[in-house]
């Protein structure tokens, strides 16, 4: 349906090709979250891998920092329509976490759990093979608390609500279990290139 008089701001073709449908480019780093930043103390921070309620392995901050590091460079996309190009992240890949825990993924689904009680679901297949990190650095610096520091899940090929801020653990679940936004009408998977913003997209 055409809107009278709307022309829009075209992107240069190179930019347009890099933007998923319905997204626009920003140089800012907008912030969206459900409440205030939780206070997370590195002295008591722990990151725990669980199967259901059973802990598989848990790391202190120092132990986590000693794990192999992976860097990632590229574009990120938020469901609220902004995309940001050429971002740099560093952290521990999901593969290295599993290797350090000495396990293979016991189920096909995960729920990321955060210090502010936020949760979000991601299929295990989307985390393995170097596709996802638990990130602790952005642009060469520790991640600012506004952006989820000290550690956030980082799954750049999905909308950014899947990259849970202030993450405190990953829980393997037997079935794909909706998290905070997925319970409120957001898509269970969230592929920006298929514009899977909300349930039914």
């Amino acid at each position: 349906m055409v809107t009278r008089g709307f022309v829009g701001r075209r992107q240069p073709p190179e930019t347009g090709a890099r933007l998923p449908p319905g997204q626009y480019l920003t140089d800012d780093f907008p912030i969206l979250q459900i409440g205030p930043n939780p206070v997370v103390d590195l002295a008591t921070w722990r990151f725990t891998l669980r199967e259901g309620s059973r802990p598989i392995k848990s790391w202190s901050w120092d132990e986590f920092e000693a794990l192999p590091r992976t860097t990632w460079h590229g574009d990120i996309h938020c469901v609220t329509k902004w995309s940001k190009f050429d971002t740099d992240w560093e952290g521990v890949s999901f593969d290295d976490l599993l290797a350090d825990a000495g396990v293979a993924a016991p189920t096909g689904f995960l729920l990321a759990e955060s210090y502010d009680d936020y949760t979000t679901n991601v299929p295990v297949a989307d985390l393995v093979g170097g596709r996802a990190l638990v990130a602790t650095r952005y642009a060469g610096e520790p991640i600012h608390p506004d952006h989820g520091g000290p550690a956030r899940l980082f799954v750049p090929h999905l909308y950014f609500w899947k990259s849970a801020k202030w993450v405190r653990g990953l829980r393997f679940t037997n079935i794909d279990t909706a998290g905070f936004w997925e319970l409120r009408g957001y898509h269970m998977y969230g592929d920006p290139w298929r514009e899977q913003r909300y349930i039914g997209d």
């Binding site: 907008p30 459900i34 939780p38 502010d116 409120r184």
Partner: protein, 245 residues
């Protein structure tokens, strides 16, 4: 944090056609836009819609806008859109939009940042700039039949002329003992910013809040939530919404 509002059931958000039925300035930079639309009666105060504009050649742009109205049986809903310089979507609304024009809407989105009377209170609300829009909707909803619930609004704007719906907000506060308005005008002589004293005043009027909603720029929301937590409000009660950077 799951206690702040009830969970809305998942719904399929489809695009609805909407037609502008009225458009009027609210401040020098903000316009009120009334739209007739199929989803006009199905939302909760505080929720937002996605607005999609389509050019002749099929090019589209989408942005989110909070709903300013409370459902009122009119088949229409109200948005309040601040025209930003070079803003792709807000620019169309401020420079071009007219009665009879058609856009598309989907929603209502954002069940966690929403309030209805049965959710209870007292309500502590704090807004910076156009962040007042979803909180105005909550106060309008409260006035429809939930006046027993105390509510305080802390509202920070650069100048009085830029404060959205300030006359309506002052009328709520003047005519309803359950509502208090705490203006922080930052760029005028004698102006102030939101500070601990302002938060203490608001809390003195409401008593311990049951629901807290903060909306505005990231800087405003970060400052306001720090002050409110420092005043002893449990962080888990606080819901935030941020309009961009």
């Amino acid at each position: 944090m799951s206690s702040a509002t009830s969970v809305t059931e998942p719904v399929v958000f489809r695009w609805h056609q909407a037609e502008i039925t009225a458009i009027a300035p609210v401040t020098p930079h903000v316009k009120s836009v009334r739209l007739r639309c199929g989803l006009a009666e199905q939302y909760r105060a505080g929720q937002h819609v996605d607005v999609r504009l389509t050019a002749e050649d099929g090019y589209q742009a989408q942005r989110s806008y909070s709903i300013a109205s409370a459902p009122d049986g009119s088949g229409t809903l109200e948005l309040m859109i601040e025209g930003l310089p070079d803003g792709e979507v807000s620019g169309w609304f401020s420079d071009c939009a007219d009665v009879g024009d058609r856009v598309e809407l989907r929603g209502p989105i954002g069940g966690s940042f929403s309030w209805d009377g049965p959710d209870g209170g007292p309500l502590l609300l704090a807004a910076g700039g156009s962040g007042v829009v979803p909180l105005l909707a909550m106060l309008r909803r409260r006035a429809q039949g939930w006046r027993a619930i105390p509510a305080a609004l802390i509202y920070s704007a650069r100048t009085r002329a830029e404060a959205i719906a300030v006359a309506e907000l002052e009328r709520f506060a003047a005519t309803d003992p359950g509502v208090s308005l705490h203006l922080a005008i930052t760029r005028e002589p004698g102006g102030r910013r939101i500070d601990a004293a302002l938060v203490a005043d608001a809390l003195a009027r409401t008593g311990p809040p049951g629901k807290v909603f903060l909306c505005g720029s990231n800087r405003f929301v970060a400052a306001a939530s720090a002050l409110i937590v420092a005043a002893g409000v449990a962080p888990g009660l606080i819901r935030t919404e941020r309009f961009g950077a």
